[in-house]
């Protein structure tokens, strides 16, 4: 029996269909296939078919313990799946707001295989049931608000006509409590009726967050809007606060009687400036003609920080100016498109068009699981982006002080994509603080383990790259190699060497691969870059060059010029071959084991070259207890690059650029 069965009495035909369903289980994997593989699970071997859209999946597979934000997102995915649907939890703890799992199994291949068998039985028996209750969760609740299709700034709670153009307002749903996915998911009467993405015709305009009370925007770049203070990613200026719309009403009649505060975004605080239709760079405060072409300048509204603040303080003035601007349009029978499009941001092709915020993630196939990427699409072009991890941020503040064993466990469990690297990092820092020396043999064996993880991680990335770019063969081949390398010893790793070399050779002569990646996501050499991303831009900062244990094994850092996705692909491939050489030289693979550091005090700092780049850990020991720690990880910086890499790229290129950064949302420090 499955909780998400399809309503209906079991009949003979339905039993036949249920039997067919049991043999054709499609699955949507949470948090993502590469993470599930890093736990050593081979989904392919069980006959579960991974699919790209929740609409096409019958099984929701949740592996590992996920953060509450990820569980909320998973609940939305579950609601989007068609019944009959089943929830399959692998080693997951708390699942709410998801319903209780239909099948629970341990986080092991054995558990997976058994679980799939149980799932098949459950489908064959209970795909149809007469009594089925709907799935519901707080994240799915929405409230209805009304907005004008032409004036997105007009938002009110009751239906009516737009005060600016007289059009009928159209209803729209917004999430009742929305911290993320704010336009993405809607709740319907039926639990299965949830759209994957917002309505193209009536979506939110870029950056208008209807639920936030205060948002921050850049005075120079009005398109930059975020919910917390900070600096503008484009120009570095401090963002200024302003009111976002909270259920504002623009209705004239209401207005006269009620003292309701009015908040507006675009029009009423505007000053007028004049610009040339042909030369947008010409802007002046008085009317006149363009110095370049002599055309008459056209008025347009501009936003002024000071007016904003003023408006916040004095609502009477606010009302007055609003009325005025509202009247301008409200009395018109004909709706002017010039006015409507004037305030729209123009994209690179100069055509003002409607922008759509489309969520990609946090479980988007082809992007790292756990990463929520919201792209503002202008047709097929990306006009803006917002990336954030929905994973739990490991708290390293260490109150109360933790002992070294649990500290190591914490750090090693932080990133499922690089457990060895972070374990080693914790180790080295502890040893450094305690002043312990590591024997050369152990150091070499640790390098072996590190390099093996590098290979697995890079293969996982290659598989993800294959998935994203529709390169099926690479996706499957790299995935199976990743699983083979995951627990391989030295001899097994060496046995896989020819296969690896064949893969690399094959990639070098794959048609279309070069044109697909060359020139995409280009990054100039910058010392803030880390790991393969840095080395693909010709920057040679590899923490391994400073380690004598590595250099004695014959390590030389690889580096490529170009700084684009192609160079990153090559660096990843080069590093895989180098890592194989290092493993061979190290002659042993041994995961670090906890040595007794004793009852010491001191401070330690160390760096480890994780598969994604250099991570740095500083910690303070007091009588064997960790009292303070500070971690710096490569993805923390790389995730901030997304905005500039994706801007004005076509969607495919933008996603490729994000993918080529090889981000791990789990290690991003917020």
């Amino acid at each position: 029996m499955i909780i998400g069965a399809r309503p209906g009495k079991p009949s003979k035909l339905r039993r036949l269909i249920a039997a067919a369903m049991a043999r054709d289980l499609t699955t949507f994997i949470i948090p993502g296939p590469e993470i599930v593989r890093s736990y050593g699970l081979d989904i392919d071997a069980t006959g579960l078919k991974p699919v790209a859209s929740p609409r096409h999946a019958s099984v929701l597979l949740v592996a590992g313990v996920t953060s509450s934000a990820l569980r909320d997102a998973a609940a939305v995915i579950y609601a989007q799946m068609m019944r009959p649907r089943a929830l399959f939890a692998l080693g997951a703890g708390e699942l709410s707001p998801l319903p209780p799992a239909d099948v629970i199994a341990g986080l092991s291949q054995q558990g997976l295989i058994q679980g799939v068998r149980q799932l098949r039985d459950a489908f064959a028996e209970g795909a149809f049931r007469p009594d089925v209750s709907d799935f519901d969760a707080p994240i799915l609740h929405v409230r209805i608000e009304y907005t004008c299709p032409m004036h997105p700034e007009v938002v009110q709670n009751a239906p009516g006509a737009c005060p600016k153009c007289g059009m009928n307002l159209v209803p729209r749903e917004v999430q009742a409590d929305s911290e993320y996915l704010h336009t993405a998911q809607h709740k319907a009467g039926s639990s299965t009726d949830i759209p994957l993405t917002p309505r193209p015709g009536q979506s939110d305009h870029h950056g208008i967050n209807h639920d936030a009370a205060v948002e921050y925007t850049c005075p120079m770049h009005p398109e930059v809007i975020q919910s917390e203070p900070g600096s503008c990613p484009k120009c570095g200026m401090y963002l200024v606060p302003r009111d976002a719309q909270v259920e504002s009403s623009h209705d004239h009649h209401d207005h006269a009687h009620s003292q309701e505060h009015e908040h507006h975004k675009m029009d009423h605080d505007a000053a007028i400036e004049y610009t040339c239709p042909m030369h947008p760079e010409v802007i002046q405060s008085e009317p006149g003609s363009c110095p370049k072409c002599g055309m008459n300048l056209e008025p347009r509204k501009t936003q002024d920080i000071q007016t904003h603040e003023h408006a916040d303080m004095d609502s009477a003035t606010d009302h007055g100016s609003m009325d005025h601007s509202g009247m301008d349009h409200g009395d018109m029978v004909f709706m002017s498109m010039v006015d409507v499009t004037k305030d729209l941001p123009r994209s690179s092709d100069g055509l003002p068009m409607e922008w759509i915020d489309a969520p990609f993630g946090p479980f988007f196939p082809g992007l790292p699981g756990g990463l929520l990427l919201t792209l503002t699409l202008d047709g097929d072009t990306v006009a803006g982006s917002d990336a954030r991890p929905l994973t739990d941020n490991l708290d390293l503040s260490q109150h109360p002080p933790t002992d070294s064993t649990s500290f190591v466990r914490q750090l090693a469990g932080m990133d499922p994509l690089a457990p060895v690297a972070y374990r080693l990092l914790a180790y080295r820092a502890l040893e450094n603080a305690a002043g312990l020396d590591v024997p050369a043999g152990t150091a070499a064996a640790r390098i072996g383990a590190m390099e093996r993880e590098r290979i697995t991680s890079h293969l996982g990335w290659l598989s993800l790259f294959g998935q994203q770019s529709g390169f099926n063969w690479l996706m499957q081949h790299a995935a199976s190699l990743q699983l083979a390398f995951l627990h391989a010893d030295v001899t097994q790793a060496m046995a896989l060497k020819p296969v690896m070399q064949a893969l690399i050779k094959r990639l070098q002569r794959t048609p279309l691969l070069k044109s697909r990646t060359a020139g995409i996501g280009r990054l100039t050499a910058d010392t803030a870059l880390r790991g393969p991303v840095a080395r693909a831009s010709g920057v040679n900062n590899d923490a391994r060059s400073t380690e004598t244990a590595c250099t004695t094994l014959g390590f030389t850092p690889v580096s490529r010029e170009g700084g684009d996705a192609l160079a990153r692909l090559h660096v990843h491939l080069d590093e895989i071959s180098h890592s194989l050489v290092l493993i061979e030289a190290a002659g042993a693979i041994e995961l670090p084991v906890l040595a007794d550091i004793g009852d010491v005090s001191g401070a330690g700092e160390t760096m480890v070259e994780t598969p994604r780049g250099m991570a740095r850990l500083q910690l303070t020991l007091e009588r064997g207890q960790v009292i303070a720690a500070q971690l710096e990880t490569p993805s923390t910086h790389h995730i901030t690059l997304i905005d500039s890499l994706t801007e004005q790229q076509s969607l495919g290129d933008a996603l490729m650029a994000v993918g080529s950064l090889d981000l791990s949302p789990w290690e991003v420090r917020q």
């Binding site: 299709p149 032409m150 009005p222 042909m278 947008p280």
Partner: protein, 180 residues
């Protein structure tokens, strides 16, 4: 008497006109464009029932691409392509209606009252038509055909030249039009 051919012509003609009316009666611009497409497709089917096989197939083929392009332009140029706001986008409605009806009535009157002379009952078979049309195009009407070709080429080049963005004269301010 009513022949099968007359039935077909009547049916597809009616469909064509009905879709043509839908074009101006729906608020959704995408629906407008696709209604026009189906109006033209019905017209193509009508040509087929009038035994003009080549023209019918050509009409069906050409209009599908043309109207799809129209649909994307509608979405581009309209702020509310889904027609959610049900806004009125017309002017001089009464005048237009009168003009439309007058032209319809006049054309029907001409069709009814003019003596069209003897009506041919058989048309050449489709294969023969294709051959004839080919010979016509590359024979007597070659100049017209070539002129049409050159004209459309010119129109394409001119339209592209008009439509591409103006060259930015100051490379330093290349991003100026992103900001506003």
């Amino acid at each position: 008497m009513i022949t099968a051919q007359a039935l077909y012509i009547g049916f597809f003609g009616l469909a064509s006109v009905w879709f043509g009316i839908v074009v101006f009666r729906t608020f959704s611009m995408v629906r407008s464009a696709l209604a026009l497409l189906f109006s033209q497709t019905a017209l193509g089917a009508m040509f087929l029932s009038m035994q003009a096989e080549f023209l019918g197939v050509l009409q069906i083929m050409m209009m599908a691409t043309e109207m799809s392009i129209m649909a994307i332009f509608m979405v581009m140029f309209m702020m509310d392509p889904g027609g959610l706001g049900k806004m009125d986008m017309t002017h001089q409605k009464r005048l237009s209606l009168v003009a439309g009806i007058v032209s319809f009535v006049a054309a029907v009157a001409v069709a009814v009252f003019v003596d069209w002379g003897p009506v041919a009952s058989v048309a050449p078979d489709a294969e023969q038509q294709v051959v004839d049309l080919g010979l016509e195009l590359l024979g007597r009407s070659m100049l017209i055909f070539e002129t049409a070709g050159i004209t459309i080429l010119t129109a394409m080049i001119a339209a592209t030249a008009v439509a591409i963005p103006p060259v930015k004269r100051n490379p330093l301010k290349g991003t100026a039009n992103h900001e506003h």
